[in-house]
């Protein structure tokens, strides 16, 4: 037979006739164009299954990708930082669900085809329908759980939204189930070659959905999901904005928070007895108040996790910063916690890093779901300054003066800011002063260290002391004139302790351990000299010293001590790490959030203060601001990792 295929006509009359023919019912094959469209030139059951599965997978990707992205962004607020992140995450999840559903459809189709060879006629259609029903219910189950997640994150309770979301979920589920049913039934039919078939075989294959209908349904579902995604990205944070304004009742006090990591009370007690740390001894004269971890013992292992707990007054499952090590997903600015010591978690991390889907990153403020005490104070109109606290990058422009945990690195390296500090105008000033800051810090560190032991230990002490001195020098420069609230995190002791003793001091030889402990004690002395001036409160000042045992095992727990005119010897000797933030805010005259799980340390404050300033409450402080300071430069992710690795934080 001679095959002739005339060239495509560009006659405009042909287009018009084509449309008129369509209106008369021609040029419409009547089968599901979307699902089976790509299988039109194929004959074998497996080929039809393959091509139809690709189409179903594509449909699933479009429908489920954005929906899953909404759910994921609600569960992991640090992951999605804006519309571009949301789109990238939706694409990733779309690809994941697309591949998963395509494979499931292929498997279901082939299974149905396999069974249909043995099944009676009536059974084949039932098998195809069953595959569709399973997918419909599976999809609906997933979407319902997803919706539950979104509701949990956003707080929707309006019946309209709930009904709309459910209707959307049902439509998406039915569409996918229908597509799977069509694919399975088509494969079953094709597989029944040379067999008698007849009754009710092609009911599912004969499509009720033409491609325009399929496309329109998909577009509507996608559009609705995309709208929800865009809306919820902002709404997850905006929905719980406090309705009550934060009204300050001025106490006349300024509060200074000094956070010391790697602090062991046993060493302090020993040094106090010998009179080597007078300032710290005074500060902890009563031993301070022991702070229990809010999130279990694991808190003490991870500085980002525990220091965010202290800063927010909320446990990790509420504040969202799960660990120091996070992963940045390729193409997404936000990060996701992938911490976990299990071999499976490590294997997943390794695999995704290997294929460059993720790369290591450090915990940041984008993961945090609750406000820190300085953010609350700043939102109440107080002047605040914070230096070097964990997970404070990117610095928020709405949180007073913030020198984030990446500020030192940026000041060292120079270059355009990537929100390492706020306000951005401060950057030029500090850059100009940087050499002087470093010089002064070095000289203060050198002067503070009084240790004549081995050279390696001296180097460790000097490096650690310089780090602390830099932070203190920065604080002195940004908190002048005096702010209502200042806070500084000092990592030097933890770094020194870790460098000297390692993770497990018990593994050191006794002679080596003794010399290393001597060096460590020398650092306590140096620290006493460095922070001593800050530990003595002015008349209108409350000094809050918070310590944490750091990364070395065997250290005793966190402590807090209050010094100042309103402080008194506490009735209790134990509290919770989540009580620090309420205490700071209470001293400043800020009402308490009812979302706090623990209240302020009233027992550590003068009763006259408590009487004069009774506790006041607001429902919530609201979510942290999503705004970040100037981001013109390159993120210092890798530099930060390298530095933390050199300091033993990251392996």
């Amino acid at each position: 037979m001679e095959e002739t295929r005339p060239p495509a006509s560009d006659d405009p009359r042909v287009d018009e006739l084509r449309q008129r023919l369509r209106s008369l019912g021609y040029l419409d094959a009547g089968v599901d164009r979307f699902v089976l469209g790509s299988a039109r030139s194929t004959r074998s059951a497996s080929a039809i299954a393959f091509f139809a599965s690709l189409r179903v997978g594509a449909l699933a990707a479009v429908l489920l990708g954005p929906a899953a992205a909404i759910g994921l962004s609600a569960r992991m607020p640090g992951l999605v930082t804006g519309p571009s992140d949301a789109i990238v995450v939706a694409i990733y999840l779309g690809a994941f669900f697309g591949i998963a559903i395509a494979l499931s459809t292929l498997l279901a189709s082939l299974l149905v085809a396999s069974f249909s060879r043995r099944a009676k006629m009536s059974g084949r259609r039932s098998l195809g329908l069953a595959a569709g029903v399973v997918v419909t219910f599976g999809c609906l189950l997933y979407l319902t759980l997803w919706w539950q997640t979104v509701i949990a994150g956003v707080g929707w309770s309006a019946p309209f939204w709930t009904l709309s979301a459910l209707a959307l979920a049902v439509a998406m589920s039915l569409l996918l189930g229908h597509a799977v049913s069509v694919a399975s039934s088509a494969v079953a039919l094709a597989a029944s070659e040379n067999q008698t078939f007849g009754a009710a075989e092609t009911r599912a294959v004969k499509a009720s959905l033409s491609w325009p209908v399929t496309l329109a349904s998909g577009a509507v579902a996608f559009g609705a999901a995309a709208l929800l995604l865009t809306w919820s990205a902002g709404a997850t944070r905006a929905a719980t904005v406090p309705r009550e304004p934060l009204t300050i009742v001025p106490s006349g006090l300024r509060v200074r928070v000094i956070a010391v990591d790697g602090f062991d009370v046993r060493i302090l007690e020993e040094l106090t007895a010998s009179g080597r740390v007078p300032a710290l001894a005074t500060a902890f004269g009563d031993g301070g108040i022991a702070l229990e971890s809010a999130g279990g013992t694991a808190d003490t292992d991870d500085p980002a996790r525990i220091w965010t707990t202290i800063a927010t007054g909320q446990p990790p499952d509420v504040h969202g910063v799960e660990g120091l090590e996070t992963r940045r997903v390729a193409g997404v600015q936000g990060s996701v916690a992938m911490a976990g010591p299990s071999p499976i978690a490590r294997a997943i991390r390794g695999a995704t890093d290997l294929v460059r889907l993720t790369r290591p990153s450090i915990a940041s403020g984008t993961e945090r779901r609750t406000k820190t005490f300085w953010e609350v104070a700043a939102s109440a109109g107080l002047r605040t300054a914070v230096v070097n606290w964990w997970a404070t990058w990117p610095a928020s422009p709405e949180a007073g003066i913030v020198l984030s945990d990446r500020a030192t690195l940026r000041l060292e390296r120079g270059g355009p800011l990537d929100a390492e500090l706020s306000p951005a105008t401060l950057y030029d000033t500090l850059r100009q002063q940087w050499t002087e800051i470093r010089t002064r810090a070095e000289s203060r560190a050198t002067a503070a260290i009084d240790f004549n032991g081995e050279e390696a230990a001296r180097t460790i002490l000097r490096r650690s002391a310089e780090l602390d001195a830099v932070q203190l020098e920065l604080l002195s420069r940004i908190a002048t004139p005096a702010t209502d609230l200042s806070a500084v995190y000092l990592p030097g002791l933890d770094i020194a302790q870790h460098a000297l003793l390692g993770d497990e001091p018990s593994r050191l030889a006794p002679s080596g351990l003794a010399s290393r402990l001597e060096a460590l004690k020398a650092y306590y002395v140096a620290l006493d000299r460095l922070v001593g001036p800050l530990l003595a409160p002015a008349q209108d000042e409350l000094v809050v010293i918070v310590t944490e045992p750091g990364r070395v095992s065997g250290s005793r727990g966190a402590r807090v001590a209050l010094r100042g005119v309103i402080a008194r010897l506490p009735d209790t000797t134990a509290s919770n790490a989540t009580s620090v933030a309420p205490t700071v805010l209470y001293a400043l005259g800020v009402p308490m959030s009812r979302e706090f799980s623990t209240g302020p340390l009233i027992e550590a404050l003068d009763p006259r203060f408590s009487t004069r300033y009774p506790l006041r409450y607001v429902a919530s402080y609201g979510p942290p601001s999503t705004a970040s300071a100037t981001r013109a430069g390159q993120p210092l992710d890798q530099e930060m990792i390298d530095r933390l690795r050199s300091l033993g934080y990251v392996r």
Binding site: M1, T4, R20, L21, L24, V31, A186, R203, K206
Partner: protein
């Protein structure tokens, strides 16, 4: 003879055997000879082959579909005899021979056509159980009646030497060609006990293929060689045809697209429908 697909031969032979039983060629009567004259003139037997193939892909036996296939060919032949009459198209040639009325006269030709038409219904009634035969007869009734062949031919006659619109042209084609193509495909599926959806799929196939077939017929009237087509060309010069609306290239293009759509309608049947796909490829490419 036209270059039909190779598999046609066995299907043609089977239906010819049935037709020869129904219309014996050894009779002397004028009416019998007239009936056999056009019925057994060279023909591709596209409609009865379509009936048998439809039955097969729906899981039925081709042999069970043979009476229905024969009925389709009887009706088709009757329509050809009537179409060629002087009162209608006045065509001198049919299937490579002088038209029936030229050979036997108008009156005998008319009677032969009615004889064939009558025989088709009788064949259905005699060959199938009452329920199926009634449904097949109703199907044929629709294909032949005022909404089918008769209505199409009437519209065609009234449109001669008149400029007509595209919708009326489609109506004519649907009646004169599409109706019997559809009936042929559906009848085969019905003899196999197919469900409504299978029948709908085959109906979509036949609908698109039928129009493609007619468009190619129009093209052959313009481009064809009478020695190959077996009928006079330029017979449609006084008529509005598909070519009038789309031009020759456009008609080729649309015929191809209609055949592709017909193929697509067969997707759910997989490999079983390969012969039907060959049939549509033949329609798209035929030049006789």
């Amino acid at each position: 003879m036209s270059p039909v697909p190779a598999f046609f031969a066995s299907y043609q032979a089977r239906v010819d055997e049935v037709l020869r039983r129904l219309v014996p060629t050894d009779r002397d009567g004028a009416i019998e000879r007239s009936m056999a004259y056009t019925l057994f003139a060279p023909s591709k037997r596209v409609r009865p082959v379509l009936t048998q193939l439809s039955a097969e892909i729906c899981g039925g036996a081709a042999t069970k579909a043979l009476p229905a296939a024969a009925a389709m060919e009887l009706v088709h032949t009757a329509s050809l005899i009537l179409d060629d009459l002087p009162a209608m198209d006045n065509a001198p040639l049919r299937r490579g021979r002088p038209a029936n009325h030229v050979e036997f006269g108008d009156a005998i030709a008319i009677l032969a056509a009615f004889g064939l038409l009558n025989l088709s219904y009788g064949t259905l009634v005699r060959s199938y159980e009452p329920g199926l035969s009634a449904r097949l007869a109703a199907l044929l009734d629709e294909a032949v009646g005022a909404d089918g062949l008769i209505g199409g031919q009437a519209a065609d006659l009234l449109a001669t030497e008149r400029e007509i619109g595209f919708e009326l042209l489609e109506r004519i084609h649907r009646g004169k060609t599409g109706a019997l193509f559809n009936a042929a495909a559906v009848a085969g599926a019905m003899t196999a006990g197919a469900d409504a959806e299978s029948i709908a799929a085959l109906s979509a196939f036949a609908k698109n293929l039928g129009l493609a077939f007619q468009i190619v017929d129009d093209l052959l009237d313009v481009e064809g060689d009478p020695s190959e087509t077996g009928k006079a060309t330029r017979q449609d010069a006084r008529k509005t045809t598909f070519v009038s609306f789309s031009g020759v290239a456009g008609a080729h293009q649309l015929a191809t697209e209609l055949c592709q759509t017909a193929d697509h309608a067969l997707t759910p049947f997989g490999r079983r429908a390969d012969k039907l796909r060959e049939l549509s490829a033949f329609v798209a490419a035929r030049h006789v």
